[in-house]
Symmetry: C3
Subunit: 278 residues, 3 copies
């Protein structure tokens, strides 16, 4: 079956099952993450205290970990919730926001990858390059210079993504002008979306929340990642098209993204999706 | 005087007095709670550090405690602020978000009810059932099974709400398709609102913020609860009616709820309100 | 060159350079602060853990400190980030939200002013009066009563602002119906904006985020302050004009403010700005 058909079916499944998605995330975009999860049809719960995250994740169908505004309390909660999720076979999706910007973020991302089995990582190109480099380093590569991909050639990036996915046994989603999604074997590129989305804070976090919501209704991490990235791109381009051309801006764009998710259906998906394999 | 007339008068009073409403709440919906408080005509202040909550609540006319993203720091602040409010006869409104989902939330809600005199509790049916069960337990009921109301029959729920309100000497507001508000003696049902509101995160929290804002301008906790629930319902149904029927969704609905609160007046209230007593 | 022309040029510079603006701010309005920073053309990063703020501010072009929901953890981070910024000649903008409301806020603001060199302070009249009083006190003035400006006469306020700016060697921006911006020598008043902006939470915080964004592209703190205040005022009045006159309210106003910032250009600035010197 075609990928876009399977995305539409998974969306339907999410809407029917309304799975609970536990999100330990940042305080900048948390409201948008909750709202986009609801708009898709899943059910968000945000809880980050160490005394309740194990209980909370136990009743959820997926866990999203987002390090956007990490601190020592929430890191401990992320690790504990992640370990509990692993024990219960609840999938964990990681958004390594800003990894590489500070040593603290890089160390934290490494620690999470070391201690928690992750099903999907979604980041921008620079974040995924950094993570790939860290993992390379931890696998004993001598020259740290060599393990960071310098090239921005799309074919090189695809190879890096595939190798990284294979290495850590997770699906990798790199979002940007062209999105790249791979589980190490199959690789998709998606060309939906609009450049203005980058001017709304949290479109990356929201995309990860969507992936977590899809992950809560399937055990296919490649399909969940592809679905989250595609749906986010569709919402962004539809919202952009609906913008008032004189007075519209990023305030309206964010509102329109949530609206578009609510109104998404199979017909829209089949007509608009721009997915390529390989 | 009719209930709807009294709601309109209390709204006018809030707009004239602009009372300060101290809210210790969660980081998911805090911005919406502040904005809806302002839209109504009251003045919000969010502050949760243990070193300032007593000072802050002392200059406020009401305190809202919302356990949506509780942690050990904020729980201590909630208790301290609540006790200070009690000493100063400042009313306290509780939103027991997610109680029952984890032991931590249930224990925290119990602790707050034990240590702070609450004027109003607003929750959904499942949250109020849990709280009622806890209170039953703490009052020495033997069988914990029996104290949880299993029935979803509206008359049974009304009886539970009345008994719970009488037991803890607070007004109880249960929001849902039909809202139930009671102080243990008088009971109102409200049928305003729209089901889509449940797809916007924080409509419950916002309703509680409205109750807190009304509570800041009256010592009638039943009227304040009825007013908050009714105004929230009106705003939701007006926002839904104003939605673009093709492209509108929950993004626009949230914006429209805030807009509708701003534009609310006596004429709209009298014309639209669907309140029944008993 | 006229002030409005220089504002338009600085806006263009921000859009070209996309400077990173590190913001340690409150969890109520943080999303709006990030979005308005992006809408202007700068790049926000919110990070508040003590273990990463020094690294983060080191890669930024300006630091914004906002004490809206301060706590012991974030205060320590504010001080450390501020000191690091000072060492690296990165300008620091302070928003003393709610100073005077509690002793804790007042003590914290004083501590920040004592330990960190600030380039710009933006607050409402009451906040700036309090800060000016604190500084007076710390300079050995005997009667604390006398140092607080009781008058609300605009000429008295201007004198206070100039004297305070000279005293602490920072630009002072007082926002209100008429905004006052001064570096102790030159003083501007701005009469853009709309009174309804006060009914949206965080318009003050957003204004400070704009000042921080401008400050990241110039070393002229007076011009950055004037630019931030003016652009915020323009956005507010444009958003108000664009409101649906029947159904519009503060929900739409906030969305419209972000939209207006996106669409701002030299022509709009030159046509609309109401700045007076002296």
């Amino acid at each position: 079956m075609e990928a876009c058909k399977r995305i539409a079916q998974l969306l339907e499944k999410v809407r029917n099952e309304k799975p609970l998605v536990h999100q330990i995330t940042n305080y900048v975009t948390v409201n948008d993450c909750a709202n986009i999860t609801l708009a898709l049809g899943a059910s968000p719960v945000m809880a980050d205290d160490i005394l309740e995250v194990s209980d909370m994740v136990s009743i959820a169908k997926a866990l999203v970990i987002n390090i956007g505004t990490l601190n020592s309390n929430t890191i401990a909660s992320m690790i504990l919730a992640g370990k509990t999720a692993n024990k219960l076979n609840i999938p964990v999706v990681l958004d390594p926001v800003g990894v590489g910007a500070t040593k603290y973020r890089t160390d934290t991302a490494k620690r999470i990858l070391d201690e928690v089995k992750i099903s999907v990582i979604r980041g921008n190109l620079s974040e995924i390059k950094i993570l790939n480099g860290i993992e390379g380093k931890t696998k004993g590569v001598d020259s740290t210079e060599e393990i960071f991909l310098e090239s921005n050639n799309i074919e090189d990036i695809k190879l890096m993504a595939k190798s990284f996915a294979k290495n850590i046994k997770a699906a990798i989603a790199i979002t940007g002008a062209v999105d790249i999604i791979t589980d190490g074997e199959t690789l998709y590129t998606v060309e939906n979306g609009h450049s203005t989305m980058a001017k709304v804070t949290g479109t990356g976090c929201m995309c990860t929340a969507l992936i977590g919501s899809f992950m809560a209704a399937t055990n296919n991490s490649l399909l969940a990642s592809l679905s989250g990235v595609t749906v986010m791109g569709l919402a962004g381009e539809i919202a952009f098209e609906n913008l008032d051309k004189v007075n519209g801006g990023t305030g309206s764009l964010k509102v329109g993204i949530l609206d578009a998710i609510c109104n998404l259906n199979e017909e829209i998906i089949l007509r608009r999706v721009k997915i390529n394999e390989g």
